[in-house]
Each structure stands twice: as structure tokens, then as C-alpha cells.
């Protein structure tokens, strides 16, 4: 976009952006390298100046997604402030917010079937995002009496699974599925009930 003419200026990122838009519209399998090139106003062959082919392009989408995702979760967690509980809840909300705001990234990360070990950078980025969730869970679990404290990674995974399930089932404009509640409310309530089950929230609302 920076420059016009024969040389594109920033084709690499333009291709990523085009891919994200296409993935968002047609699903991770529904987009093609040629589509992305066309959307960026360029010959398919030009893609090979910047990526090792289709899979490499998707992997870069996912990598960028995980970076943003990690940043958002980190920011929401805010080092566990003001309380471990509030920080944890905020992190859960950030999960859904990310999926809603960046569906292309989300799909490239979780629905494209991308191999997280495709590149060291991707592996690192996805690992970091996961680590934020686990850290939030760990801080929270300190408030549960030790004798009935479940492993932190377990309930990080519970929250992750519920969030992901809500995104997949209810936060997509899937034909034929009419969600009776806004996904945000559904997740908020679900996390609330779950945390009450852990004894981290007073039993009576």
C-alpha cells in the first residue's frame, strides 16, 4: 500500500491481509493462494518472492494472530490486577473479544489445521499465548485451599475449551444455528458458574 507501481512496497503484508480477509469470508480451506494474489493485485508467482507457498502463507497468518492474541490476553490479564479473580475473568473475555474482532486470525489459528511446528516463530507465538492463560489460572488457583485445588493447567483448559466451544458453535453466523443468547453473555455466565464451582466466587450471586 505504501507505494504503487511495479514494485508493490509491502506485498508481504498485503498478501497476509488479503489471505485473512478471504479466510474470514470463505473459511480456511476455501481460500487459495491465487485468490490472495489476485486480491493483492499481483500475479500468483509473485507470492513466491515472499512465502514458500500456500501453507507458509497461512502459517504467517497464524503467527501474527498468536502474537496479537498473546498481547491481548497479556493486556487483559494485566499482571493479575486488581485481583487474580478479576484478571482471570478479563482474560476470558479477551479470548472471545479477539475471536470476534479478528475472525480471520482466529480461523487461521484454530481452524486451518496449520501445523504449529511449521516454523519456530509460530511455535513460540502459540506457546506464549497459551502460557498467559495458564499463568492467569495459576495465580487464581493460589486462592483455592491446597487440598482441593485442581491443577491450574486443568482449569485453564476448561476455560479455554468453553471459550473455544462458544466461538465455534455460537459466535459464527452459522446457517441453521440460532444462538438464544449473545456469545459474550453466554461466556460470562459460564465462567461465572464455573468459578463458583471452584469456590472462588460466593455461592449466592
Amino acid at each position: 500500500m505504501a507505494k504503487q507501481g511495479y514494485h508493490h512496497g509491502n506485498l508481504r503484508q498485503a498478501l497476509v491481509d488479503a489471505a485473512l480477509r478471504l479466510i474470514e469470508e470463505q473459511g480456511p480451506q476455501g481460500f487459495s493462494l491465487s485468490d490472495a494474489a489476485r486480491a493483492a493485485g499481483v500475479t500468483p508467482a509473485a507470492v513466491y518472492r515472499h512465502f514458500n507457498g500456500r501453507d507458509d502463507l497461512i502459517a504467517e497468518c497464524a503467527r501474527q494472530g498468536f502474537e496479537i492474541f498473546g498481547d491481548l490476553l497479556e493486556h487483559a490479564y494485566a499482571g493479575g490486577k486488581p485481583t487474580a479473580l478479576k484478571a482471570f475473568e478479563a482474560t476470558g473475555r479477551a479470548y472471545l473479544a479477539f475471536a470476534r474482532k479478528f475472525p480471520g486470525y482466529y480461523m487461521s489459528m484454530f481452524e486451518s489445521g496449520v501445523n504449529y511446528n511449521a516454523s519456530p516463530e509460530l511455535a513460540r507465538a502459540s506457546e506464549r499465548a497459551r502460557a498467559v492463560l495458564t499463568r492467569a489460572a495459576e495465580a487464581l488457583s493460589q486462592h483455592i485451599p491446597e487440598n482441593r485445588r485442581p491443577p491450574a493447567s486443568m482449569f485453564a483448559n476448561h476455560i479455554w475449551a468453553m471459550s473455544h466451544g462458544i466461538v465455534e458453535l455460537f459466535a459464527r453466523g452459522k446457517p441453521g444455528v440460532n444462538a438464544p443468547f449473545p456469545p459474550e453473555d453466554l461466556l460470562e455466565a459460564g465462567i461465572g458458574i464455573y468459578l463458583r464451582g471452584l469456590g472462588l466466587v460466593p455461592p449466592d450471586n
Copy 2:
């Protein structure tokens, strides 16, 4: 399989079976009508004797899946016996059991992007399966004091979302993701904590 030779005998079901096996192995987007025909030992054109093309074949896979899924959930729910709580837990377990035992069906139902309104039969089958989950939730919700009883469809959706999330994130042999717990245990624990949060299970284990 019933007969050999020029006439296949039961090509329709053979194609469905082949499609399921392929979906299981390569994902819902990774299989082609030609693949399925080849696997059934038949020309691609023969498929059109039985289906209106690729999408119709997938829709039939999903329909059969939802029938089995509905039966399994129904059976697990067992009319709410012995208690609404135990029946509900059994239903949740049945969800995961289905996903594990019939990955091809599961993927055709939830990952293929099939339109649930593609045929009235598919719409009905998917509706029935959902209804079982909601009914189980409704029976259970009778045991919650009315003033702090969440809508039954809400917590049916919570359980559904968590189950689906666990299937997608941890019950697949996804490269690069090592689940720290068996999915069954993860779901069992998650449902347990959640139900405790609803006040349906004594607070101390």
C-alpha cells in the same frame, strides 16, 4: 458389500462409509467426491445415481451422524434415571464418547460447514439431538431454586460448548498440541466443577 460385480448392491451406503473414512483421515475439506468414488471402487459419475453431488453426500453423512448422536444421547439420558443429575452427567459423557468413537461423523456434523437446512431430514435430525441436551438440562434445572435458576437452554449450551471445545482442542491428534489430561477426565472434571457452581453438587467433594 452385499453383492459383487457390475451392480454394487449398496453403493449409497458404501459411498457414505468411504466419505466418513476419508473425512476422518483428511478432514472435511480434504476429501473429494472422486476420492470417495475411488474408495468405493466406482467411477465418480456413479455417485450421481445416489447423490446430488458432493455437498449432498456430506449432508447425508451429517444426517446419519446426528441420528446416531441423538440415539446415543437419548440412551445416556435414559429418561432422567436414576436422577436428573446422574442422567445429565451421563449425557455429557456420551457427547465425548460419540466424538471419539465416530470422528468422521463428528467432523461431518460440526466441521464440514454443512448447512443444517440442506435437507429437511438433516434439519430434523440435528434438531432432535439438540433437544435431548436441552431436555436433560431442563429436568436438572428443576432442582435449582427458582429465583436463581438460569435458563435451561443456557446451561445446556455451556455444557455443549465445553464438550465441543474439548473435542476440538484436545481430543484430536493435533500436531503440536499435547493435552496434559485425557479428554474424558478433563470433561468429567469440568462438568463436575460447573455443576457445583450451579449448586447441584455438594460444595465439598
